[in-house]
Subunit: 465 residues, 2 copies
Amino acid sequence: MTAVPTIPGPVIHELKTLLGDDGFLTATTDREAYAWDNTGYRALPDAIALATSEEQICAILHLCHNHRVSVTPRGAGTGNVGGALAVQGGLVLSTQRMKHILEFSPADRYVIVEPGVVNHDLQKHLESSGLFWPPDPSSARACTVGGNIAMCAAGPGAVRWGVTRDWVLGLNAVLMDGTLIHTGGRTTKGVVGFDMTRLLTGSEGTLAVVSRAILKLAPRPEKRLLSRIAFPSVELAAAAVSTLLAARQPPSALEFLDGSALDLLRRETTLAIPKEARAMLLLEVAGGLHGLDAQIQEMINTILRFKPLEWTPPVDGSDAASVWQARSALSPILKKLAPKRINEDVVVPVSRLPALMAGLENISKDAGIPIINFGHAGNGNIHVNLLVDPQNEKIMSQVGGVLDRVFRLVLDLDGSLSGEHGVGTQKRDYIAWELDENCLSLQKQIKQVFDPLGLLNPGKIWPSS
Amino acid sequence: MTAVPTIPGPVIHELKTLLGDDGFLTATTDREAYAWDNTGYRALPDAIALATSEEQICAILHLCHNHRVSVTPRGAGTGNVGGALAVQGGLVLSTQRMKHILEFSPADRYVIVEPGVVNHDLQKHLESSGLFWPPDPSSARACTVGGNIAMCAAGPGAVRWGVTRDWVLGLNAVLMDGTLIHTGGRTTKGVVGFDMTRLLTGSEGTLAVVSRAILKLAPRPEKRLLSRIAFPSVELAAAAVSTLLAARQPPSALEFLDGSALDLLRRETTLAIPKEARAMLLLEVAGGLHGLDAQIQEMINTILRFKPLEWTPPVDGSDAASVWQARSALSPILKKLAPKRINEDVVVPVSRLPALMAGLENISKDAGIPIINFGHAGNGNIHVNLLVDPQNEKIMSQVGGVLDRVFRLVLDLDGSLSGEHGVGTQKRDYIAWELDENCLSLQKQIKQVFDPLGLLNPGKIWPSS
């Protein structure tokens, strides 16, 4: 694994010629503008290439490969695990200027896009057709489809529609040596050869750079209904989730907020929250214009067995949007309050949620570190936020041990270290806790097949040995 | 790629010791009983190992690896492309005796099974819970879950629920050298490392032998309604499919039969089919007890724009079952009438179905070979049956050219050579028509990573060079 800390002159010259002054950036201010992501960590790239076509991606990678320059692919930089950070310097290859929607077939329910199309812009484009692309990360207004695919992103809708891997039919992707490959196709079924589409989806830009994607679309629900259900304890809310999920009809979202998350919302938003509430569920159903009221009422009736404090009559439209806005504000609020908070997106089978919540409370008490939990309860996917004060040396010295306990707890509950954020730089030293040695070894060999020199997105996924 | 034609004495001795006389078969009658699959071709294995545990699978593969004996994994032998045929001799490793359901968590909607569990038996086991495993190949009463996973099987329900890869959460699998690996897990989300679960799903038993599977479950519909719609022409039926699929709510099945398929059903079943009908759609919707009638009626109204000859009032229960029975009988009837018929399961985007049907009719006329078409129109997945008479030398000499034309047509229509049957021995010489050279090369290298000696299921997928 070799990576050159600075980019050789001839490469700079060629990239400038290829991309123009506007498409190849080396000024310090530009480099700093591409040094961040959502982790709060920074890593300064040596230069940034802003590709505008698949041919340019091929040419850039081919050139960097020949000169042993490492390349970090980047979408909108909204990732949570350092995936888009050039931690070994080298070139950042941004696809954010590749925003074309190339082909749209409503009858076949697919759309073909360039990787830089913003998730939200795609949904807008599809709106009048009655179709949508289900992946809905909370960063949807900023994140790109290419980034969604690289990280196998998900959001609240995953409980009903699944994650990004379920909504990608095929890809064009470029290997580190500049070779273009095509995977999958325009059909909803296909079993010719290995499933390369899903091997690339979620590979965090370490195997290839997505240059084009064929996305599968779903009928957009005509109506959504949302109810908030407040509980006196986390345990009751968690137990309700598990029972609700065993019912016949899945909700379109089932979000969870613990007492500390509610305290934040009380302080920072206008959302009405009962005083005694120490947990809340946001329950959403989606579908056709008829029958939805009965459907959500049936679910609320199930929840009533768990003695909630109160539930709000189902709302839609702007009333629902303001609740979702408050939910989405949680991460930014936390980031403002505790810039160095540690955010882990662990996942357990939903029936283990009560045990997870109880375990996290113990860990928080033992360490004296506040932990705020919220997230996609319908998938057992909880965002565990450790609010640490970087000035407090005693606390900071404990963080490693606390994270160890959190991850051990999750794995003991048959869970996974990441439901939707990925590994990146943030969890690479824990990946061997979850994956067995043999499976890890196979994955490293697959990486070798795609990128023998280890130049593409180095320093990610695999443990720093 | 080395394969030993006969199994060395010490291996036979060890396998006998490991598996007993009942679990290790070498008699000619036994070998003949494992020489077939649904293709009609035969390949005699040298011996058969009937594993009853994961440990046995590891031991068998380890032993064969050390002695360079090739191994062909086998479920129920219902595959359509020769995947379970020991085309280079060696050992057949059957998992059909591994029938345990190991763990079932209704609240988490997963079940953990051994690979030999029959699809239909699994559904029976789940029935009272209100859940089911969506993959529904027409061989469901015989085929095993392990085989379903190896081939990424699908059936009529794929139009609504997707294919096997969408319903596998995790796997235990054994590499050719006897190494056990674990992929995925019990959660519905997870992005730690590459997606090895889906790399194995559909890899046709060439990468590893599945020894255990964690299956994702869905709520079983409470009710299903079926209507038959008869058309005067294939073109009108195909056009109706495409329009129907653009509507909001997906049907749970949308099957197509052409005029020749209807002729067969007229002759061999009691299904009422209008005399003038030259195509038929079977339209099924599934869901809760309420609202289904309105839903199917809305779809029928859409279809009426395409001037069908008639449609039957929606039926459920045994009335629907008898229609499905007739549909399922098509393949066996064809097999009886034309044992050497050639059955291809091509797939195109649904909007290209009219062009596919027109093209197939031209090919049939030009060659003087009757072609019967039916299948899963909702996914654009059509079973193209060439009725060839093996005694007719002139016809037989044309078959290669006709298949070439069929596949060229499908690829020109943005389709794929196989929607659900796979490649196996049957389409290996065509795979390079569909996959680009670079992608094919990567796949071969991935095969090398898993099975460097090329001993696991040799002679499948890759072109015979």
